[in-house]
Amino acid sequence: MAKDKKDSGNLNKNLKQLAEITEWFDKREEIDVEEGLEKVKKAISLIKESKARLKSIENEFEEIKKNIDLKEDENYEDKDF
């Protein structure tokens, strides 16, 4: 649970950072190449991490959903008896 919270916190933090980076790019008239490059590197890392986390969450969600479906089927079987 604590891990989930941490992960969830990370994802939120990543998204926030990504939002800041895109905003930085949108608003800057003069691009500082060095800083821009750093931002891009950071953004790519965040995106990669976030995508992985998102995928993990999606998988976990699918697993949970599968369990729910399975339990419903069991209930129906009980009813048949």
Partner: protein, 405 residues
């Protein structure tokens, strides 16, 4: 010649009898002259044996007949003979052989004249009442649902038919003893009947007869009979059809009603009540059953409604659960999509702004020191500058400047 050989058929013309034999013959004949005679008692003597000797004198002409009443009969009728008392004696004449004395053997005696009878009745009533024989406290109630009935009455009278016609069909077992119920002679029968019934297994004893005059009911004023009735082992009910001057037996009985029909009705009573009670119980049971069934139907309906309601609630809860689940799933999916879009957007922004990408396309960035050269004015001829390319930097020097207008 033996005495026992003497009969009324003996040829008296030829035969020579001894005195004793002749008296025996006479006594046989005299027995036919059984009669009731009325007269006044005189010269009454009670022998040590208990037998009572007296004369009966004709009221009109003073004619006299010697009379005897044996102790057993005397005690039975409860009349204390006194000189001057007017009585009716029923009996037969007899010659007493040892003395050659003619006597009237009184088998039954009763007082003659309403005045005497009333006097005797009142005296005995007072005496027995004084003894507590008629006390209410002594009265026993007729057992409920009595079945074994002892009945004393005459087969001849209408009383029996009245009684039997009015007895309900409740499984009564009636045992009857035929008894005279009229006149003083009835006392013997009545006492004998009571004695017989004492040995019988009965629930109640009924003594009945039809209505009659005070005189005709005199046997029911007999002291011995009254005492027997009062002390009878099972409750006694009487119906003697009297109008006034109730016979003393009615005071001694546990229950006294006016007629044989009333006795039957009295004995029917508890059974009739039981039938009514049973009918009421039957009705109550049936209605209670109806009530139970009705209650059951109500409960069944309520149960059905409750089950339906529960089923509906269950279904509703399930739907609600499914809705929540669906909502959660779609909500979460859209959240994931939103996040994914944000990441995608960030990727696009980053990609389009990536300076390295521009450099890879062949663009380079000229920099004089740390400043990007954006205008011809930013550098002079002869000054050095660097060019950032995709894979490094190139050092250069300005040789010409051609501003574009």
């Amino acid at each position: 010649m033996e005495k026992n050989e003497i009969t009324e058929n003996n040829n008296t013309d030829e035969r020579i009898f001894s005195v004793s034999e002749y008296i025996t013959l006479l006594n046989i004949g005299l027995k036919k002259f059984k009669a009731k005679i009325i007269g006044e008692v005189s010269e009454r003597k009670i022998a040590s044996s208990g037998h009572v000797y007296f004369s009966l004198k004709d009221e009109q002409d003073g004619a006299i007949i010697n009379s005897i009443i044996w102790k057993s009969a005397y005690n039975m009728y409860g009349i204390k003979l006194e000189d001057g008392m007017k009585i009716i004696a029923k009996g037969y004449p007899e010659i007493y052989a040892p003395l050659g004395k003619f006597s009237f053997i009184a088998e039954v005696i009763e007082l003659a004249g309403e005045g005497e009878l009333k006097k005797q009745y009142e005296r005995l009533k007072k005496q027995l009442s004084g003894e507590g024989l008629f006390d209410e406290a002594r009265k026993r109630s007729i057992p409920k649902y009595a079945q074994r009935i002892g009945l004393i009455t005459s087969k001849q009278g209408a009383a029996l038919a009245d009684f039997l016609n009015n007895m309900g069909k409740f499984g009564f077992r009636i045992k009857m003893i035929d008894s005279r119920v009229e006149g003083q002679e009835a006392v013997v029968d009545l006492l004998r009947s009571l004695k017989s019934f004492k040995k019988e297994d009965i629930d109640v004893l009924a003594i009945i007869r039809g209505g009659g005059s005070f005189e005709s009911l005199m046997s029911f004023n007999n002291e011995k009979l009254v005492r027997e009735v009062a002390n009878f082992p099972v409750p006694v009910i009487v119906g003697l059809g009297h109008h006034k001057d109730e016979p003393l037996v009615t005071f001694a009985a546990d229950i006294s009603v006016s007629t044989p029909t009333a006795v039957a009705n009295y004995l029917n009573q508890s059974w009739e009540e039981a039938v009514l009670l049973l009918e009421r119980y039957e009705r109550n049971i049936l209605s209670r059953y109806e009530e139970i069934f009705e209650n059951y139907r109500v409960i069944e309906n309520k149960l059905k409604i409750s089950l339906e309601s529960f089923k509906t609630k269950l279904s509703s809860a399930k739907m609600s659960l499914e809705y929540c689940l669906e909502k959660s799933i779609t909500g979460f999916k859209s959240l994931l999509q939103e996040i994914s879009q944000k990441i995608q957007h960030a990727q696009e922004v980053v990609s389009s702004n990536d300076p390295a990408r521009q450099l890879e396309l062949g663009y380079s960035i000229a920099m004089a020191g740390k400043k990007i050269i954006r205008s011809t004015k930013d550098i002079k001829i002869g000054e050095g500058f660097s060019l950032k390319v995709s894979d490094g930097e190139i050092g250069s020097e300005v040789k010409k400047i051609h501003p574009v207008k």
